[in-house]
């Protein structure tokens, strides 16, 4: 009985091709995820830079007892400051719009913490299912 072994080479290469495709696919997904993480970190650091500039300016004004409401600019960051009962609310207009809620003790001149509300938050970019 004759058995045909035609197709052995193509089957072998098909197996290798599938294996390589799988590995390449996994690598690509991994690289994409790392790139996305790096991009998110870059964005977070860019936000932190402008937050740092604004908070340093607010702290300086607070310590000099010259904190005033209105529009200001510091280190290339444009913002408006509004005093509230619990501290202050800062609307950063440029370069990356966001809102900062500052916990300030205006009488003691102490800045304790802040909360950032970012408009391009990842959670707000998740598409909704219909």
């Amino acid at each position: 009985m004759l058995r045909s072994r035609r197709g052995f080479v193509s089957l072998f290469f098909l197996t290798v091709l599938m294996l390589c495709s799988d590995v390449a696919g996994i690598l690509l997904v991994n690289i994409c995820r790392r790139a996305e993480a790096a991009e998110n970190i870059c964005r977070a650091n860019a936000y932190l830079v402008q937050e740092s500039a604004v908070i340093n300016a607010v702290q300086c004004s607070l310590k000099n007892d010259s904190l005033k409401e209105g529009s200001c600019e510091t280190a290339g960051t444009v913002y408006t400051l509004e005093l509230t009962g619990e501290g202050a609310q800062v609307q950063i207009l440029q370069p990356f719009p966001e809102t900062l809620i500052l916990d300030l003790d205006l009488e003691e001149g102490i800045f304790s913490d802040y909360e950032a509300i970012r408009f391009d938050d990842v959670s707000s970019r998740i598409p909704t299912t219909r």
Partner: protein, 123 residues
């Protein structure tokens, strides 16, 4: 007999490809300290924005954070914030702080590779 030999030949030929694939996958799926370090440093920068009175003392960075005196230092190969055990950089070999102008820099060494990042700005 022929079929067994053919099967062994196929296995022998596929073995190097499989070994290489597994090696590449293992390297790619291993824990990535690089990304994790950057995330930790972003969190540290956020804390240092709120902190006040930053001061380098030897291999430590002392600060006042939310009314408490805190210290960032290397303990048992981890960069931690004391009091407490808030770990920022795990499994490091060395860690140093220095100030250049108004910028505080943190340099650390892991697996023989030294890296340095700006962590705080104190005008």
């Amino acid at each position: 007999m022929m079929q067994i030999l053919l099967g062994l030949a196929v296995i022998a030929m596929l073995m190097p490809v499989c070994t290489l694939s597994i090696a590449v996958l293992c390297r790619q799926t291993s824990f990535d300290h690089q990304i994790q370090d950057e995330i930790a440093l972003t969190q540290l920068r956020r804390m240092l924005i709120v902190a006040d009175s930053l001061e380098i003392s030897g291999a430590e960075l002392n600060m006042e954070y939310q009314g408490e005196i805190r210290c960032l230092q290397m303990v048992n190969s981890n960069l931690i914030m004391k009091p407490g055990t808030l770990i920022f950089l795990p499994q490091i070999e060395d860690c140093r702080f220095r100030k250049e102008g108004n910028v505080f820099l943190l340099s650390w060494q892991r697996s023989g590779v030294t890296q340095e990042r700006a962590i705080a700005y104190a005008p």
